[in-house]
């Protein structure tokens, strides 16, 4: 009996509780937009119908119909590609800045100054340097993912407990082996946090990235819809980015839980 209770309790906590607020908001949205002859904000129903049209078509048969998968694939490809590029650059840079005084003195001030510059501010320059289109989008998304990975990697490799170096030394670890045997594994939780934030940021900046004149992608779709005052398409784009970002974050979390089983903060 008590077991059944705890199970239904858990179900309530994990499903019902998080669903409360969104449900209230949708109801309020529906109440606010119903019986309006002319509204700038479409009703939930219109948004749902448009989502179906985006997915399978057959309702409006316009430029947006059946484009959901195409746009989703284009954006996902950009997000993951740019994220990988950012990781490939930020991980070694972060490790160097974190462990080598020369690299820190040379590079850290520059990145500290560049870091507060928002991705949006880079948009015009990026379009001049990389041209209109996918290269520019790629650059902007990678830029968004770069700093969280860099900062957390630096933090991770710098905050290794000094005791672990002593322990490794007295067990006969050679100085050259200190990095792979101690620094890297000890820094993994920090590095992982950076990667997770970086991937999240890639989704955040995808709309800005796709303001560069690329023909497909969820961001491009939102920009096109905005110019055509197709707000229901805009909202569908927002929902899709949110869902895709959420799913990709959950996947990374599960991966982290496996890889960082040893860490009390990560072991689920």
């Amino acid at each position: 009996m008590s077991l059944v209770l705890t199970q239904s309790n858990r179900l309530a906590r994990q499903v019902a509780l998080p669903a409360c607020l969104p449900l209230i908001l949708v109801v309020a949205w529906w109440l606010g937009t119903r019986n309006q002859t002319y509204s700038l904000i479409p009703s939930p129903w219109e948004v749902a119908v448009e989502m179906v049209d985006l997915a399978i078509g057959g309702i409006n048969d316009d430029a947006f119909s059946q484009m959901l998968i195409t746009n989703l694939v284009a954006s996902t490809g950009r997000v993951y590609g740019a994220f990988l590029l950012a990781a490939v650059l930020a991980l070694p840079l972060g490790m160097m800045i974190g462990r080598l005084a020369t690299a820190r003195d040379m590079l850290d001030p520059m990145f500290q100054v560049l870091r507060p510059v928002p991705v949006t501010a880079w948009l015009p320059l990026s379009m001049i340097v990389f041209g209109l289109g996918p290269k520019s989008a790629f650059f902007l998304v990678a830029l968004g993912a770069f700093y969280p990975i860099l900062v957390n990697t630096i933090f991770g490799v710098r905050s290794v407990e000094p005791r672990l170096f002593e322990a490794a030394q007295m067990l006969g670890t050679k100085p050259a082996a200190m990095f792979p045997r101690v620094v890297l594994p000890a820094a993994l939780p920090g590095i992982f946090t950076g990667l997770r934030l970086g991937l999240g940021f890639s989704w955040v900046v995808i709309v800005v990235g796709e303001m560069t004149g690329v023909p497909t992608g969820l961001g491009a779709m939102i920009m096109d819809a905005r110019q055509l005052s197709r707000t229901e398409v805009v909202i569908d784009g927002m929902i899709l980015i949110g869902a895709a970002g959420y799913i990709s974050d959950r996947a990374v979390m599960l991966l982290g839980r496996r890889l960082l089983r040893w860490s009390p903060q990560h072991a689920g």
Partner: protein, 252 residues
């Protein structure tokens, strides 16, 4: 003919203006169990860290096994109060860390690791991570990893200080048993007089301001020792006097 394992000659250590250790002299034979005891600031941990090679003496010489200490090395295993285990490695891999770092063949590592996992009674926990272990188990792993690394001298810095009384007593017994079996040389830092008399062949008493060695008492009681015996308590009283001479008591 006893073999000299450790020789400390006229060792001074200053940190800035602070004199942590003044004129320390110590000779330890192979297989001896030595306790360093004294109040905080007496330099007992500093002396231990100099023996380990983590600190260099400001002046003086330190020899272990006939060679001057130039830095940390696997011949001198250290057991820290806060364990210093690698949290990302299982018990088994923690114990095998030293042999792996020294590049020994995998099959050999696996074999000796099993032996020491058994010796410290952690067979059931061999695949756990440190955060899943109790303090006593963690310290067993820390001891096993220096034993598996063929340390000739084991340096222990208040290793049981963070453990509850029952666990501490069990680990003291286990340590004595391992020591009797392996004939290691042990330097054990503690601030508990009873622990020092229970464990050691010699109790080296230290005092603060500046940190120095003030007495070196041989403990000839037969083992296993009985903490409630008359002889044990006579020793406890005389060591207590060495560590708290009457004039310093008056000063308070």
């Amino acid at each position: 003919m006893p073999v000299e394992m450790i020789r400390v000659e006229a060792v001074n250590k200053t940190f800035g203006a602070f004199q942590a250790l003044e004129g320390a002299e110590l000779r330890v034979e192979e297989g001896e169990f030595i306790c360093l005891i004294g109040p905080s600031g007496c330099g007992k941990s500093t002396l231990l860290r100099i023996l380990a090679g983590f600190e260099q003496p400001t002046s003086g010489y330190v020899f272990v096994g006939g060679r001057e200490v130039a830095g940390p090395g696997p011949d001198r295993g250290m057991v820290f109060q806060d364990y210093g285990l690698f949290p990302w490695l299982t018990v088994r891999r923690n114990i095998g860390f030293g042999p792996a770092a020294r590049g020994l063949p995998k099959a050999q590592i696996a074999e000796t690791v099993e032996r020491f996992v058994d010796m410290v009674g952690l067979s059931k926990f061999a695949d756990r991570f440190p955060h899943q272990l109790s303090g006593g188990m963690k310290q067993r792993v820390a001891i096993a990893r220096v034993l598996d690394n063929d340390a000739r001298v084991v340096l222990m810095d208040e290793p049981f200080g963070a453990l509850d009384a029952m666990t501490r007593e069990r680990l003291q017994d286990e340590l004595l048993e391992i020591w009797a079996r392996t004939k290691l040389t042990v330097i054990f830092v503690t601030h508990a007089i009873e622990e020092a008399i229970l464990l050691s062949d010699r109790v080296v008493a230290m005092a603060a301001g500046p940190g120095r060695i003030v007495a070196d008492t041989r403990i000839d009681l037969p083992r296993p020792r009985d903490v409630s015996s008359v002889e044990f308590n006579a020793l406890r009283r005389s060591l207590n006097l060495q560590l708290h001479p009457p004039e310093t008591l008056d000063a308070h």
